[in-house]
């Protein structure tokens, strides 16, 4: 948690001011019962009206000063905590933006989102609480004890019975109650999971007529949740009355023993009243302290998660003296490239891959799942760095080229299509914000997206994402392709991104591609018909480049390629021909 304190530094004035102001408020609060006692014992008992009025006015004055302290503390702590939260959020967001792909592989998106949202809110709340209650509660507690003891030390013995009782009750709650809440949360998650599954898989449920089975599955999760909830709440339900009882009995004890002391002239009546006041204050502040402990223990888990993000070492950064010359030709050479995700060279995903893609060539890559196709292409724009060997673009090692120049010269359409909320046009413009409308349309036509885009009432201004239209997989892929093409890349990488597009459309896309640019193109595909027209086909198997050549060459020389061919076109196709 210490590591995060840096983000409080810009607000150090507020951080100091807030507790000071809180001290003022607490002191004012604490003095009220004493002033009241004075009215009762000196004013009323002696019939001194003047004193009563003066003390009354003093109380009003003290109340106002207390208010200034309280309001001031609120303002200062709000500024500090919100500033802290915003700065920390910004720092974590920036850090995540700088993550490399291998950093990203280590964190699941959902945990990164939680860290950025809930966890930071939690910490922000902790700062706010710290600046207010963390000061207030112990001050009220200690001040209360001090005042109580100063009123009557013998009566204070009651405190030393009541306080431990409260603490024991609280510890019991922590130990017994809170683990139950964790279990309850798990049961809640379980219920939610069943619901989510049934929403997502409703077709399957209905197709197999499993409605009743799902209902009983849900009901058992539901009942489980109910029973756990009841069990989780029981300790609290039991302890709250107990804590109240301790408090009330302490007051009764004060009355009894205080009464005895008054009888022996060791104490004034007003002091009993003041003592009762302080007693309740002490016991309440004790509960607040307990709350703070719960809060801190929760927040420290958050702090750990946030720090973990901030402490992650980013493994791909711009070189110290980047080569800022533009990439013009698009020649790509792999020289004995090996790669493993952990960077150690063990368990290699690629082994000693060497090939050359000449400017303007189309290179297709084919192979089974896990053979390393996607990995191979992701090394080109430095989404990962090679473990051994090197990759040259236009004769320069990619690790020496300025990373912005490198990536803006390469367009890669990833296997998983992700579009962003906004209009279709905005999504295409992601590739190049300065593209004109005509360019957008032209590119969309090449990506075979224009026709379906125009079939929407709002055309290119159609909203997509959560609040907009639902696009089919193939439509999304075509927009993603348009987004990549509008960048006018020197090197284009299509990572199995036409899987949901029918063959005819795919063929038109690939033909269109050739017509507009002479960029070097890498295509990963599963369909033989997609790859057979490429200038060069790389056949990968288990991370090794086992063959390269044209379609007709490979049909003769490469058994694996033949195999793939047969399974897709069918034996009879060969006989037919």
């Amino acid at each position: 948690m210490k590591r995060l304190l840096v983000y409080l530094k810009p607000y150090w004035k507020m951080v100091i001011l807030a507790p000071l102001l809180m001290v003022i408020e607490v002191v004012c609060d604490l003095s009220q019962p004493t002033l009241l006692a004075k009215i009762v014992d000196d004013g009323i008992a002696k019939g001194d009206i003047d004193l009563i009025i003066r003390t009354g006015l003093l109380m009003v004055g003290v109340a106002f000063i207390g208010m200034i302290g309280g309001v001031g503390c609120t303002i200062a702590s709000s500024i500090a905590s919100q500033g802290f939260g915003a700065d920390l959020r910004s720092a974590v967001f920036r850090k995540i933006q700088s993550f490399s792909f291998s950093n990203l592989d280590r964190f699941k998106p959902s945990t990164l989102i939680t860290r950025l949202t809930n966890d930071i809110t939690q910490l922000q709340q902790l700062v706010l609480m710290s600046l207010r209650i963390v000061v207030r509660a112990p001050l009220l507690f200690l001040g209360g004890i001090l005042m109580a003891v100063s009123i009557n030390s013998r009566l204070s013995t009651i405190l030393f019975i009541a306080i431990p009782l409260q603490i024991i009750a609280f510890l019991y709650l922590m130990k017994k109650g809170f683990p139950l809440f964790t279990i309850m949360q798990q049961k809640i998650d379980r219920v939610n999971a069943v619901i989510r599954e049934n929403l997502a898989g409703i077709r399957v449920v209905k197709a197999f007529v499993r409605e009743d089975m799902e209902k009983s599955r849900f009901n058992s999760a539901n009942e489980d949740l109910m029973n756990t909830s009841i069990r989780a709440f029981m300790p609290i339900i039991t302890l709250m009355p107990f804590i109240m009882l301790v408090m009330n009995l302490s007051v009764v004890a004060v009355l009894w023993f205080g009464g005895l002391l008054v009888a022996r002239e060791n104490m004034h009546v007003g002091e009993i009243m003041a003592f009762i006041n302080y007693l309740t204050q002490i016991l309440f502040s004790l509960m607040m302290i307990g709350n703070i402990f719960i809060f801190i223990s929760r927040a420290s888990a958050s702090a750990k998660r946030v720090s973990e993000v901030l402490d992650t070492e980013v493994d791909i950064e711009n070189p110290a003296n980047p080569d800022t010359n533009p990439i013009t030709e698009g020649e790509v050479i792999f020289e004995d490239v090996s790669f493993s995700y952990d960077g150690t060279g063990e368990d290699p995903v690629l082994e000693d891959v060497s090939f050359t893609a000449y400017p303007g060539e189309t290179v297709a890559i084919i192979g089974t799942t896990g053979s390393g196709k996607s990995t191979l292409v992701s090394l080109i724009p430095r989404l990962y760095d090679v473990t051994r060997g090197r990759i040259l673009i236009d004769g320069r090692d990619v690790r020496e080229i300025d990373i912005d120049i490198l990536r803006s010269s390469i367009s890669i359409v990833l296997q998983e299509t992700i579009l962003f909320s906004g209009t279709i046009k905005e999504n295409i413009l992601w590739g190049n914000e300065f593209a004109t409308d005509e360019e957008v349309i032209e590119i969309a036509k090449i990506a075979q997206a224009h026709d379906f885009i125009m079939s929407f009432p709002d055309g290119y201004d159609t909203q997509i994402g959560q609040r907009g239209v639902d696009l089919s997989g193939g439509q999304k892929q075509r927009i993603a392709i348009a987004r990549a093409l509008i960048k006018k890349p020197v090197i284009l990488i299509l990572d199995d991104c036409t899987s949901a597009v029918d063959l005819a459309t795919e063929r038109r896309i690939l033909r269109g591609l050739k017509s507009i640019s002479r960029c070097t193109t890498f295509i990963i595909a599963q369909r033989i018909s997609t790859v057979m027209n490429a200038d060069k086909i790389l056949v990968l198997d288990d991370g090794r480049l086992i063959a390269q050549g044209t379609h007709s060459e490979l049909l003769v020389t490469c058994p694996i390629y033949q195999d793939i061919y047969k399974s897709q076109i069918g034996e009879e196709a060969v006989i037919d021909a």
């Binding site: 106002f64 809110t121 309740t280 989404l383 960048k487």
Partner: protein, 617 residues
Amino acid sequence: MPDRREERPAVHNPGFRGGPGGPHSMFSKVKPEDPLGTLKRLWGYIKQYRLRFFLIFIIVFVTALLSLINPYLIGRAIDQYIIPKDFKGLFSLIVLMISIHIANSLFIWLQGYLNITTVQKIVLQLRKDLFGKLQSLPLRFFDSSQHGDLMSRLTNDIDTVNMSLNTSITQVFSSIVTLTGTLLVMLRLSPMLTLISMATIPFTLLVTSFISRHTREYFFSNQTILGKLNGLIEENISGLKVVKVFSRERKEIERFGNINRELREVGTKAQIYSGVMGPLMNVLNNLSFALIAGFGGWFTVQNIITVGTIASFITYSRQFTRPINELANQFNMLQSAMASAERVFKVMDESPEPADLPDAVELKDVKGDVEFRNVCFSYKEGVPVLKNVTFHAKPGQTIALVGPTGAGKTTMVNLLTRFYDVDSGSILIDGIDIRRIKRSCLRSLLGIVLQDTYLFSDSVKENIRYGRLSATDEEVKMAARLAHAEHFILRLPHGYDTVLSDGGENLSQGQRQLLAIARAILADPAILILDEATSNIDTRTEKYIQAAMLNLMEGRTSFVIAHRLSTIRNADMILVINDGEIIERGTHRELLEKKGFYYNLYMSQFAAEVEGVTKTG
């Protein structure tokens, strides 16, 4: 005497949280449309526990009264016993107080116990009914509503109802009791002092309403902005690889920074407004405290009232403002709870899938003869998806459905399974209109293997068993073998017992489809519907799928939404569908000779493949 502020240890209810900044926090302005109707329906759930609720109310009433007596007794102890030094009297009073406190605590415990057990049962029923309702709804409902929203109704909304049943109702009641009780006692103690202490109440109301108005406003915009920010974060992080590929990091940081700044400004204001309430209330309370002390002191000197009266009066006057605040808060809570309940009941009001006809039959020994007769269908009125579709599939035949995306192939599947019902025309199985077959029977006749199949977060074994619940482990394994799925299942960490997560995300699409095939094999349907994967499946897995599908299709009437040349060639009949109509039908050879739509489709899609063959062959 209670503390001035409401700093009680809050019981943190982990509860359902619909993600960051869920759709309706207690600050959002949600108002029920028909509170009375909603209340009536809620009553339907509460009714059977009315005795328990009645008991709860009585206990709340009693405990509120007992808490009210306490300050009065303290005053009496001081006035009547401590000052006159009457210890015998004091002792009996103290014994009384102790018994009252013990009784009070017991009552509070009992109330808590009754409350939690009753409310949890009500919520259980509510959740159960809603889920049961969902299961009965037609697919049209799921296709046309957002899952996130449904999810939130089942979780957040029910939780809001839960919370308010749990606390709000009793709180409101106890606040009202305390408020009236306090006022009565204060009046009895000293009408003059009551009047004086009332002097600050208008201020209290003014301050409360002013601040809470602003607080609500700022918290509302705070929630909105937070929602916006969380939306951006979610999108950015799930798409971060794309962001990086397009070097958009700086742009994203800028976008984030703007909203973050906005959030900070509004957040600070919201926090200040809500935080200021405490000190302001405090000063008003202290003011009335001082007023009472001052005037009370003066009255005592005049012998109008006693010291003990002041002591108890101060306590009461402090108790007076709290229920007012409480009532205002609870009112908001209740309002949003009603709105939530309304959203829940709206789902319950959706009309379910129409019930089976009274004379609906249970088919036995189905041959698998399927006929579409003049079937017309549209999802939206005026936008026909299928127009006058007629064809006849004889038992055991394989029918390939071919045509461009959106032509209506999937819709035919939806109609055959009665996920949707035809607008006109009819579909017959073995000569019987499917609307006259029991829905459960119809669906178990059909086996569906979609290209993207949903799997449940359960073990592989149980996912396959979903096809036939009574299947033994051996049968499950046999089905997996026939589906060519066993080889990959055995390589999973725990084999058949490997638990799939997130709908099977840890499997590849091809593997998921193999499991779906195994599931269908186990179900042993008379009629099959297969949605061939377009691609994305590596060649090795694809081979398995092909072989598995052949196993599955044997001896069954099969409809295949086909993408593979080999499948299409082997079909007994190809239906070429375009724009909701069957425009051509026949075998591969017949259709090629026709040189029509199919011929063109074939030439553009597969010609190259054949060319390739010619070159080398």
